[in-house]
């Protein structure tokens, strides 16, 4: 048996799904995260039933890609659990009536039932059941209230096979049902609603956005530096370094195997940044430098998602984003890109037109450094002074604006206007938040560790056979004359294709000046996406657009690097 969970976005469908199946899913407050649907299993009496979390949809007359997917899925289901937001029957029942016309058995979960009480909404359940002709079960997905009753009523699902109606008739029918079952008593606005309105007004909204971004930045840095300074550095220096030194003795302190596994010793000691062996830098970079930033970034972005702040940021940024040929919603993938470009480029799917997706994906892979790269920028460039970090970020921001403006006027197609629901502010559920954080941090390690270790291995072997020296000599004129970098930096730029954090780490032993380090960081950030990003770009854009995008990247990186070399 196949059970479909269907309903408008932001009605708690995904939370209900995880309640029914016990499977870990990503639960977020903004529309769009469930575009790729989730599948799970549940016990239903003796049998096991398949449960599908269908993308949120307002109507079965599709107005977006996600709604088309939803309509296609409807034809494959045996039973539909229609999740309805009890605090907004007026809009939710439209989809319910459409479902009741289709002839598929339906049971209605009247979710967020607890909110009706404090919002002064009174719903006559018996009357609603009578008018709809299907079971209606009040539920509170976040606490689990009513879930058992809902499951018991799945076999009772029926279809009244309502006659097919035209849109206006259907809206009239919704109005008539709401008039008969719902009584709303007037009440004063809550502080959450006042805050909600303040965050989409130009002045107060701007102040709130700046405060939110500033606090986010401070928290990310505080948590990450705390993890590095108090957990990971002591672990590596006090526990891991002695182990490596003993191993180094066993391998007689040098040779091919020693250099690959432990790396080159600096002053007779393991140096986690410069030794560049599998067990030294190969573990230190992902765990002690990058993981802390990835974790704290996803902690903060998860909070922003689950409180419902992000759609408000989309409204605020809309005017600016239109200058880059995008609309406000594109700020969400862009922010995600500051964590990792891979989910960011996947998230560009929430943008409607091809043109927007091309511009957003290109801008993200050029001008939005991921958390791994940023961690290395903070570590290496920050050592020379805050002003140099500021130059790197300022340059990338300028590139984002200028390149976006150019793309806006040169890429053909159209950018549709913003039209989104602003969900109410909600208090995040800690359990769901920590689950999501765990999934993302684990996902980073599972994805990054094999590539990092592979990259370190390949680099050491190629280095041993002098391959890099050949490439370096070949490209030396461009790199030394145009970018002002030593020819050894070519190795790092080539390795940037595998992992940007590792690549930046390779600049560490080169004794670069602060200026060279700035140029190197910017060029590395812009030049080419890492292999994981490259693969998703290829999949999302197709070969032709990917080639265009890559062309833009390489020329933008060289031009920006050249200009920086001249002006600094």
């Amino acid at each position: 048996m196949k059970i479909l969970l269907m309903g408008n976005p932001n009605v708690g469908k995904s939370v209900l799904f995880s309640r029914l199946t016990g499977v870990r899913v990503i639960v977020s407050n903004y529309p769009g995260t469930t575009v790729s649907y989730t599948r799970g299993e549940m016990k239903l009496g003796e049998d096991t039933a398949e449960v599908i979390d269908v993308p949120g949809t307002y109507t079965l007359e599709p107005t977006s890609e996600a709604e088309e997917v939803a309509l296609q899925m409807l034809h494959t289901g045996d039973v539909v659990i229609n999740v309805v937001n009890a605090t907004n029957l007026e809009r939710n029942l439209y989809l319910t009536l459409q479902l009741l016309e289709k002839g598929v058995p339906v049971v209605v979960a009247l979710n967020m039932w607890d909110d009706t009480k404090h919002q002064g909404i009174d719903i006559n359940l018996d009357k609603l059941r009578e008018l709809l002709g299907v079971p209606v079960i009040p539920t509170v997905a976040v606490t689990g209230e009513g879930i058992k009753e809902l499951v018991e009523n799945i076999p009772e699902a029926t279809s009244p096979r309502l006659p097919l109606r035209h849109r206006d008739e259907r809206w009239a029918a919704v109005g008539s049902i709401v008039d008969q079952v719902q009584h709303v008593t007037h009440r004063h606005h809550t502080w959450r609603e006042r805050l909600s309105d303040a965050s989409v007004k130009p002045l107060s909204g701007g102040i709130i956005a700046l405060a939110v971004l500033a606090i986010s930045f401070i928290v990310i840095r505080f948590v990450a530096e705390g993890l590095i300074g108090y957990v990971f550095e002591p672990l590596f220096n006090n526990l891991w370094a002695p182990v490596l030194m003993r191993l180094s003795d066993l391998l007689q302190g040098g040779g091919f195997l020693h250099d690959i596994v432990i790396g080159r010793l600096v002053n007779g000691e393991v140096n986690f940044l410069q030794s560049f062996g599998l067990l030294s830098s190969g573990l230190y970079v992902p765990f002690a430098m990058v993981l802390p930033y990835v974790t704290s970034f996803y902690l903060v972005i998860g909070l922003l998602e689950d409180t419902g702040y992000l759609p408000r940021l989309a409204v605020l940024m809309d005017t600016i984003m239109h200058r880059l040929g995008l609309h406000g919603y594109a700020i969400i993938p862009t922010l995600l890109g500051l964590g990792c470009n891979v989910p960011a480029i996947l998230a560009t799917r929430i943008l409607e037109s091809k043109r927007e997706r091309f511009i957003a994906a290109t801008l993200i892979s050029i001008a939005v450094p991921c958390a791994a790269l940023q961690a290395m920028i903070f570590g290496l460039v920050g050592e020379r002074g805050v002003q140099y970090v500021a130059i790197v970020y300022g340059t990338l921001f300028l590139v984002w604006i200028i390149l976006g403006t150019i793309l806006r006027y040169t890429v053909r197609g159209f950018t549709p206007e913003l039209l989104i629901e602003i969900p109410p502010y909600r208090l995040p559920q800690w359990r769901a938040m920590l689950q999501k954080l765990w999934m993302r941090a684990y996902g980073f390690l599972a994805e990054a560790i094999p590539i990092i270790l592979g990259a370190v291995l390949v680099i050491n072997i190629l280095y041993f056979f002098g391959v890099f020296e050949a490439i370096a000599n070949f490209t030396a004129p461009v790199v030394t004359n145009f970018l002002g970098l030593p020819k050894e930096a070519v190795t790092a730029i080539v390795i940037g294709f595998l992992r940007k954090d590792v690549a930046l780490g390779m600049l560490a032993p080169l004794a670069l000046s602060a200026k060279q380090l700035v140029v190197g960081s910017v060029v590395l950030a812009m030049f080419f996406p890492c292999i994981a990003t490259f693969v998703v770009l290829l999949r999302e854009l197709g070969v032709v657009n990917m080639l265009k995008s890559a062309g833009i990247m390489i020329s933008a990186a060289l031009i920006t690097g050249g200009i920086l070399n001249l002006v600094l």
Binding site: Y58, T59, E61, T63, T87, N88, E90, R91, Y94, Q119, R167, D168, W171, G175, S196, D197, V200, K201, P202, G205, P311, A314, V315, L316, D318, T319, H327, G328, P416, E417, L418, L419, I420, E421, I422, P423, P424
Partner: protein
């Protein structure tokens, strides 16, 4: 004589409310707006608008929706008595 109480959502001031009178757009626009509950006959309140022809935020049926300025210009609203002063 044009009805003075009728205006577009884009031209309304923040805090004004009225009844949606007409959606002046093609099938696609009408579909997208009505999916979010913005249909003729609904009570609508403007919450805010962003500067420089930015999006307009409204309240319809106790939920808030942000609408691009161009679309908001195509939504005709019959203003309430108290909103026309």
């Amino acid at each position: 004589m044009p009805d003075e109480r009728q205006t577009t959502l884009a031209r309304m001031r923040a805090g004004q409310s009225g009844i949606v009178a007409q959606l002046q757009g093609g099938h696609g626009l009408v579909n997208r707006l009505s999916a979010l509950g913005i249909i003729p006959g609904k009570k609508i309140t403007k919450i805010s608008s962003m500067l420089m022809r930015g999006p307009v935020t409204v309240e319809v049926d106790r939920t808030r929706v942000a609408i691009g300025f161009g679309m908001a210009s195509k939504i005709l609203v019959q203003l309430d008595d108290e909103s026309t002063k």
